[in-house]
Structures are given as structure tokens and as C-alpha cells.
């Protein structure tokens, strides 16, 4: 499979099965679009109908043919045998330490932290028991992950601290290592918390949507007042520390139907001094007033291209700025197994709610028909079949993924989005999400080509 596309005057082709990216002159690009494998050594007659000099066509075709012989163009399909082991090891837990929040954001899937249930804070004992559960079920995996999530996890700081300390100790005893991540809206960040998080967290995710007007429209305090003014000085402090000590963090925002000019939000965050930026499309039911709708896609594609072109300029002139969704490592990326396997929800990744219930991931938390058990009694009777179903939902089994040029970069999309927005069917793809994923990949590849110049 070959995917050809044009961005910012560049003619590009991604050879899907090998992952090779080619930058073409227009002639080779035009030829390529007329070819279907298998290729012959002889130049196909039909190419001489193109309005180019015959010798030039012949030369370009011979170059394309040589890539074909090297299996870098129209390279053959391959199938990866995923291991069929009956025990699925767990490597990551999302701990919902607070089903409560001190903001009321317009697009919040967690229902202001309530997750369709009551407001609740996870007790330290539950979190510690979850660590035991993780270590017991991690088989041979050494690098484990725990994500403090909410609601707003800083509302459960005692639990965060107790679990981190306990987790470090338990992991060391077991000859393993846990990387902790925390996602916060920043409202409760004071200097002491900043210092603690910087020291203990492997990664920090800081939620802010971009420009003050955009941010404050969506991200609100129940009592009123600007969330932007409250959080930005603290986020800047934290980001500066992380940039200095080379530790990982992201500022992350969400764009909705109300700010389709989101590249301005990305550059606003860059101009505030943040180097690691993620701004991503909201996922909501189609009838929600903030939802991204089909008719907005062309506008969003243009915006992504604009962002990529400007990023290429800024990066070439030495600016340190990374837009998370355009990060792709073409040379040292993950192995094919990882590319095929996808997000791992329900399998290697599980979510734990405040009372200790287990769900396939944070997006399923509170959906009773997806409950997998709890950390005290372990997996329930339904879990085996459900986890198997999650495991076998991947780019080889989802019909739309099989013919998608982005499959080895995307890994098969978000199961939760399929369940929520595509009528409960895991094997379907969340259409809007896929369209945007494909566009982002094109832009990411464009950026790679530009930076290789």
C-alpha cells in the first residue's frame, strides 16, 4: 500500500508496509500515482502519456523501480502473530484518586469529576492495594506505569504521596520500576506541591487550552474568576524546572468547535515559554454543541497544515517547540508488535476507581457492563472474555483499519470512542477521530521531510 499526499508544496509518499517516507519531484509523484504493483522493469507505456519528456519519465521510473526492488515502495503486506498467551500481564494502571474536581469544564467527559456516580476520593489504602495488584499481575515486565488521574488528583494529595512512596518501595523489592505520571488542572499548585511533583513524577500533564479567552471560556471555576490567571504562573514555573532538569512534561489543551483556529493556541503556549505542547480535538457525541462535526473537517485540515508549515519554519530556525501529535520517530520507532497491538486498554492497561473497581481504561470507568472486578477480589467472571475481546480488537481485526494508510502509526484508535460514539461496537472506528489522525500523520511526515532538508 502506498499513500501519496501533498502539503506545503512538498510531494510525499508513505510506503505503508515498510514505513519508508519518500519526498518526490512532481514528475516522480505523478508517475507514482499511476502505478499499481507488481511493477515491471520496463517502463509502462501508459506513463509516456504524461506531459513530460520521455527520457525524464524513463529515468524517474527506473528510480522508482529501484525503490520497489529494495522493498521501499509497494512493499508487501506482512502479518504479525500476536502471542496467544492466556495470561495477559498488566503494566499500567490509571488511578482515579479523585472523582471530584474543582473546575467545571465545558467538555469534561468525567462529568465534573463525578463519573456518573458520587464525588469520592480514593483512600491511600486502596491506592496501595492497587500497587500490590499491579506488581502481582505484571509477570516479567519491569517498567511499570501508574497515572494519577481524576477528576483532579491534587484534591487527593495524601493518597498521591502515600501511593508514590509505597509504589517505589514495592517496585524496588520486586526488582521493577514504576514511572508515575500526574495530570492536573493546576488550581491547587503551590510551591510545595510543585517541588514534590517535580521530584517524584516521571511525567506531568498540565491542562490549559491556550489563549486566555479560549481557556477561560471552557475551563471554569464553579465560583467564577479566570482559571488562566490562576494556573499559568504555576505552570510556567513547573515547566521551567522540567526544561532545566530535562524531565518530561506536557501542557495539553483541547480544541472544540469554538476554536477551530487552534494553531493560535499552540503558538500562544509556545510564546509563553512552553516547549512540549499538545492541543487536541475534543471527542463528544455528535449532537453536543462543542463537538467536532464532519463539515468542520476541511477547516481543521487546513489548520493542521498551517501549524505544520509554521512549526517547520520555527524548528528550522532553532526554536525548541514540540507539538506532541507531530512527534514521530521514523528511524527508531516502536517494533511492529507494538504498532499492531494498539492502546492496550483492558489488557496491559487498566483503570481503578476510588473504591477499587477495575475497568478497561479511564474512559470506561463507571460503565457497569465493562467492570472487570476489583483490586481486592481480583478479576470477575466476565473479565476473561471481555479482556480477550479487547486484546483481539486491533488493526488486523477492525475492517476500516486494514485498508488505512495510518495503521502502523495509529495502532487502531480508541476503543472507548468506538463504544461511545459508534453505537457500542468495538470493531468500528470513531470516524472523526480517524480522519483527524490521518491528517495529523500526513503533517507529521511533512515535518520530518522538511527537517531532513
Amino acid at each position: 500500500m502506498l499513500h501519496t499526499f501533498e502539503i506545503g508544496g512538498e510531494y510525499l509518499a508513505l510506503d505503508v508496509n515498510s514505513g519508508a517516507l519518500h519526498s518526490f519531484y512532481k514528475l516522480a509523484y505523478d508517475i507514482c500515482k499511476l502505478l499499481t504493483p507488481p511493477l515491471t522493469k520496463e517502463t509502462p507505456e501508459i506513463l509516456y502519456n504524461l506531459e513530460y519528456d520521455k527520457n525524464e519519465v524513463k529515468l524517474a521510473y527506473s528510480e522508482l523501480y529501484s525503490l520497489y526492488e529494495q522493498k521501499l515502495l509497494f512493499s508487501p503486506d506482512f502479518i504479525v502473530d500476536l502471542p496467544k498467551n492466556s495470561v495477559i500481564p498488566i503494566k499500567a494502571l490509571c488511578l482515579h484518586v479523585a472523582h471530584d474536581c474543582n473546575m467545571r469544564c465545558g467538555y469534561c467527559f468525567a462529568d465534573a469529576g463525578e463519573y456518573c456516580g458520587k464525588r469520592e476520593i480514593m483512600a491511600p489504602e486502596v491506592g496501595m492495594k492497587a500497587i500490590d495488584f499491579l506488581i502481582e499481575h505484571s509477570a516479567k515486565i519491569e517498567n511499570l506505569e501508574v497515572d494519577f488521574f481524576g477528576g483532579e488528583p491534587l484534591m487527593a494529595m495524601d493518597t498521591v504521596k502515600a501511593v508514590t512512596e509505597y509504589g517505589k518501595k514495592r517496585a524496588a523489592e520486586a526488582g521493577k520500576h514504576i514511572n508515575f505520571t500526574l495530570t492536573t488542572n493546576g488550581a491547587l499548585l503551590d510551591d510545595e506541591t510543585i517541588e514534590y511533583l517535580d521530584r517524584e513524577m516521571f511525567n506531568l500533564v498540565l491542562s490549559v487550552d491556550g489563549r486566555k479567552s479560549v481557556n477561560d471560556f471552557m475551563r471554569r471555576f464553579p465560583e467564577g474568576g479566570s482559571t488562566y490567571d490562576k494556573i499559568m504562573p504555576q505552570f510556567k514555573k513547573l515547566a521551567e524546572m522540567r526544561q532545566q532538569n530535562g524531565k518530561s512534561y506536557y501542557v495539553r489543551g483541547t480544541f472544540t468547535a469554538k476554536n477551530l483556529d487552534f494553531s493560535s493556541d499552540v503558538f500562544h503556549l509556545a510564546d509563553c515559554g512552553f516547549e512540549e505542547i499538545s492541543v487536541e480535538p475534543v471527542a463528544l457525541e455528535n449532537n453536543h454543541p462543542l463537538a467536532i462535526k464532519e463539515e468542520m473537517l476541511p477547516r481543521i485540515y487546513k489548520e493542521y497544515e498551517k501549524l505544520a508549515i509554521e512549526l517547520a519554519k520555527r524548528k528550522s530556525s532553532g526554536d525548541k517547540i514540540n507539538f506532541f501529535h507531530f512527534n514521530v520517530d521514523l528511524e527508531a520507532g516502536p517494533c511492529v508488535y507494538k504498532r499492531v497491538k494498539g492502546c492496550g486498554a483492558g489488557c496491559e492497561y487498566l483503570a481503578v476507581t476510588p473504591p477499587g473497581a477495575l475497568f478497561p481504561c479511564h474512559q470506561f470507568a463507571g460503565m457497569d457492563n465493562y467492570k472487570l472486578g476489583n483490586i481486592y477480589d481480583g478479576f470477575n467472571d466476565e473479565s476473561a472474555q471481555l479482556r480477550k475481546k479487547f486484546k483481539s480488537t486491533n488493526i488486523y481485526t477492525k475492517p476500516e483499519c486494514q485498508n488505512c494508510f495510518a495503521k502502523f502509526f495509529c495502532g487502531g484508535g480508541c476503543v472507548a470512542a468506538s463504544v461511545k460514539y459508534e453505537g457500542g461496537d468495538m470493531s468500528k472506528c470513531y470516524h472523526i477521530g480517524c480522519e483527524l489522525e490521518r491528517k495529523r500523520l500526513e503533517c507529521a511526515l511533512y515535518l520530518q521531510a522538511k527537517l531532513a532538508e
Binding site: D15, S18, G19, A20, L21, H22, S23, F24, A28, A60, L64, L67, L72, S75, V80, P83, P89, K91, A92, F109, A110, I141, N143, T183, V205, Y250, R252, S278, E280, V282, F324, H325, V328, D329, L330, E331, A332, G333, P334, C335, V336, Y337, K338, R339, K341, G342, C343, G344, E348, Y349, C361, H362, F408, F409, C410, G411, G413, C414, A449, A452
Partner: protein, 54 residues
């Protein structure tokens, strides 16, 4: 080549097929910074490199 520049020399088939499961999980939902598999790093190779440098 005159008409074509290939950007990456390595391809998937070059990356050792390992599937060891040590790399970070990759959630694509917006509230988790939408990792796709492509923007994850391989922890296995890092380790191999480290071993080579010993």
C-alpha cells in the same frame, strides 16, 4: 537519485521484532495527550544500546 529523496533509511522490518512490552502504554484519548503508537519510544532498544556501551 534525481527525482526522489528517501527520508528514512530504517524501516519497520529493520527494527528487531521484540514485543517485550516494556515501552509506555499509548492511550489515544484527548485527556491522556493522545499518544499513538508512533510517538512512543522503544525501551528495549535503549536498553540494548546501553548494554552495547558498557
Amino acid at each position: 537519485m534525481k527525482n526522489i529523496k528517501t527520508i528514512n533509511k530504517k524501516t519497520y522490518s529493520d527494527t528487531t521484532f521484540a514485543g517485550c512490552g516494556e515501552c509506555r502504554s499509548s492511550c489515544q484519548s484527548a485527556c491522556k495527550t493522545s499518544c499513538t503508537v508512533a510517538n512512543q519510544q522503544c525501551e528495549n532498544k535503549k536498553r540494548l544500546n546501553k548494554d552495547n556501551n558498557k
